[in-house]
Subunit: 271 residues, 2 copies
Amino acid sequence: MNRLCVHTITTKPLSVEECFRQYPPRGVAGITIWRQALEGRDLPSVKRQAADAGLDIVSLCRGGFFPATTDAARQSAIDDNLRAIEQAHAIGAPLIVLVCGAVPGQSLVESRKQITDGIGSVLAAAEHAGVKLAIEPLHPLYADNRSAVNTMRQAHEICDALGSPKQLGIAVDVYHVWWDPELEEQIKHAGRTGRLDAFHICDWKTPTVDLLNDRGLMGEGCINIREISEWADEAGFKGYREVEIFSDKWWGEDQAFFLDQIASRYSQTYS
Amino acid sequence: MNRLCVHTITTKPLSVEECFRQYPPRGVAGITIWRQALEGRDLPSVKRQAADAGLDIVSLCRGGFFPATTDAARQSAIDDNLRAIEQAHAIGAPLIVLVCGAVPGQSLVESRKQITDGIGSVLAAAEHAGVKLAIEPLHPLYADNRSAVNTMRQAHEICDALGSPKQLGIAVDVYHVWWDPELEEQIKHAGRTGRLDAFHICDWKTPTVDLLNDRGLMGEGCINIREISEWADEAGFKGYREVEIFSDKWWGEDQAFFLDQIASRYSQTYS
């Protein structure tokens, strides 16, 4: 259980203060904080509260969304990522997860170029703040408007194109990559290159009734979560296993009950 | 317009006889017939009616669904594919499109092995009937329960594993493969290997509100249909461009109006 982390979005109905109260009694050791959970908060105070609760802040979600059709909109995205880096630094989050972005109708090749340029523009600020950036490849299902980076191979290519900066890595989310025939090989490559920086878990339900908010709790679906986790660990990953579930169904349940289920399914997955 | 083909499922509310009446006046030259449209019909009569309407029967949809957890269920799938081959022969369809299948929770590697074995079991019958089989890679969105073959590369690997039989090729559907960074290269490879046997078009809408039945008419979404079509043509493809749209929205419209829209959007796409 000492590797169990939960994303605040997973328990969206709870405020960040309620997350600090309700996560630790279930054995949750880490927390990844979504930026909307920080709205109106004093950031140094959030950092203190997490420490007081005994929770490691694992990462800040999320930066990215670099592609756009105008220079002004691309600069605005870069500015927003610079703000995210400041926020991460202020709460003591060592990592920002990047959902890279895409523009419907713009070629994926052009979007990936803009993503590479965008990340390149904020790397120095990230290094200065001591914050790492992790490219999260998103399922091809989201290639239209959320991310033109849809495989680990593409994430590696962006790291390569930027000269493999120490500040840049990859966030593996089983939901997005479980189908990829190259997955094991690409995870191993991430280990060898020191890019394996975050590991997100949830499950793929059959049927999935909503493209965004019908992710499953571990065991509710078909993903070989345990096996993929072992590939990551064999590649040298020692970080948290972060439960990131977007689910209208689970958000509609009592969140204390949901957290009990998360802890129990986590234990079953890794027992 | 002489390369425009429409799938009967695209105009699901119409009987196959109504398709024969309504397609030709819009300039539709080919028809791909779904098996459910044949229920209760005399197959040689369907063949004659298509010829009388001046419509080429382009393919029969669909075979496949080979993976299963028991020997009996896998044999049952093989038997069903043998029936599909007989049906295709009876209506004069030169090709059967294979949606290869997947079983939630069974590893994709095992499912691909069962798919390869399944196709291998029916190749001789296909050859004897003069019917080709085309593996249709499905979007990774469907890797849980519809197809463990999610890229053209995987389709090629199955063709290779079976010794590149003349009877086996690939059906490219832009909806399923548009996101693939290897797409152009894999289409070229399909051309070189003589495997480029079918080409399906529709569009990817943003947002997509249903995982199965919210495909767009050409131009309603973000897919670079024209560019992908040119890659296919440059690879030597001279066949039909088959409009295959599953859409609760369009099925709810007057189908004569929908067919007018299909013809008009097809012309715009390729003008």
